[in-house]
Symmetry: C2
Subunit: 276 residues, 2 copies
């Protein structure tokens, strides 16, 4: 390919890093692609490194050795995430979202690209250090959240099914008590989807008593895999005693009043950690 | 914020465009953000415009007027998409994927970030001109494909449910004949999710006879919305006569032989259009 000028190289490197977070690239790869000396690429990367760091967008890390290379780790400032989430919570707390039975309509947000990107970025930041090999979620509404986070963490997403599908091959099924219905239900997971000793991050859209999450943790035991973190978008304040203890939420819903048409929702436990 | 040098501005503009495709930005927004004159921003954007065009990555379009601004439209070269898809088809045609009943295991690919990004890019390219307002898919395996495409097209994704959920509010249900089971099934969609006169793109992971897609098209009629395109990742070669006529596929599966342990899969109709 033709020789690129510095500005075009900076654009191309930025694009490659943003589109492929946490993916190691060899300097020689860039130097061949751009037809310039490695030293020029090093200078370009130094410029980008400074830019990402100063903007609080993350780090560009260079590792030595045969499997080494340069990669971009996206990061997010907690204050920025907090501001963004507070704004989204306002959008969540409108009476139009109240459904019969005191449920909250959220499906539109889960299909909205900017919302899903934002949630994915926050979870990727929250679990930046847990070294997860994959993300596990349960169909259906957890999928957009899990996928967006997977894109930022550059790890695969695996979906637990609520029933047994022929297209999943051999599956493992576990029973669990769903918090919203209080009934015993079954979830199943394809045998080949989670290798032994995997480090697994569990994400979901909603947690009431934590029965579904507990089910997923039990499922992982069957696969001899380890749960290294649990994150939910919205948790219910009640019941206070959940079936899982170690999890973070981005928002906490304490009340949906069908008569008064009011919703009480606040920042979730992830943000509380940083409050004084 | 502090004054940025040209290289940092190029990096920041690239990041903003790549992370927010098809989103219009005012020049004055950039000029305030970067604390430089609009003329400098115009020069930066001209550099990027040339870079995106020469690399075949898309266009930077400037529109005049109050609602105008500058936006990045990602594009993809068909030959590149074709090369990529041929490589993925090889990964699809391995005997380990054959499941009892002649089904093909694809769940791993649908949770793999690079695969999902690639499929999303191709569908965004295939439907770049249809001016869709939203993407409709049906749970479960269509969701990653629909979401990835939605991220590139910068439009919302809406999920049709296979059953009726309390968290969806008032829903519309339609019956359809599923090609894989041959049975009559029901799908439902939240009343508030698709406004009248919406232009809707339908995406799914798989099509056999097209019964599910037909159901979604019928569903859209109930919403007085218009289907402006149909795309599936994999279609079955048989039956040749499908219930839908106007659709594209990225791959076509003609045979899964459980005895011989062979899979016959080729490029789908989207790529055939460009062949001589």
């Amino acid at each position: 390919m033709m020789k690129l000028k510095r500005s075009a190289r900076i654009a191309e490197l930025t694009r490659i890093f943003i589109e492929n977070p946490r993916t190691p690239f060899q300097l020689s790869y860039f130097s061949e692609q751009f037809d310039v000396a490695k030293s020029s690429i090093s200078e370009d990367i130094a410029i980008l490194e400074e830019y990402f760091r100063e903007r609080g967008l993350g780090e560009v890390i260079t590792t030595a050795g045969a499997s080494g290379g340069v990669k971009y780790i996206p990061r997010l400032k907690i204050e920025e995430a907090r501001e963004w989430m507070l704004h989204e919570i306002e959008r969540l707390a409108v009476p139009e979202r109240i459904l019969p039975g005191g449920f909250l309509y959220m499906s539109d947000l889960l299909g909205e690209t900017s919302f899903i990107r934002g949630v994915g970025k926050i979870f990727a930041e929250a679990f930046a250090e847990v070294k997860a090999d994959m993300i596990l979620t349960v169909e259906t509404k957890g999928i957009p959240i899990a996928l967006a986070t997977a894109l930022y963490l550059n790890i695969p997403m695996v979906v637990v099914r609520r029933d047994n599908k022929v297209t999943e091959g051999t599956t493992v099924s576990v029973n669990y008590v769903s918090g919203s219905s209080g009934r015993i239900q079954t979830m199943s997971l394809s045998r080949r989807s989670v290798p032994q000793n995997s480090r697994v991050l569990i994400l979901d859209d909603f947690m009431k008593a934590g029965g579904t999450t507990k089910g997923m943790i039990n499922m992982l035991k069957e696969f001899h895999a380890e749960c290294v973190g649990v994150g939910v978008l919205v948790e219910m304040a009640e019941p206070v005693e959940k079936l899982v203890t170690d999890y973070i939420s981005l928002a906490k819903l304490s009340e949906v009043d069908e008569v008064k048409q009011t919703i009480s929702v606040e920042l979730g436990s992830f943000f509380k950690i940083f409050e004084k």
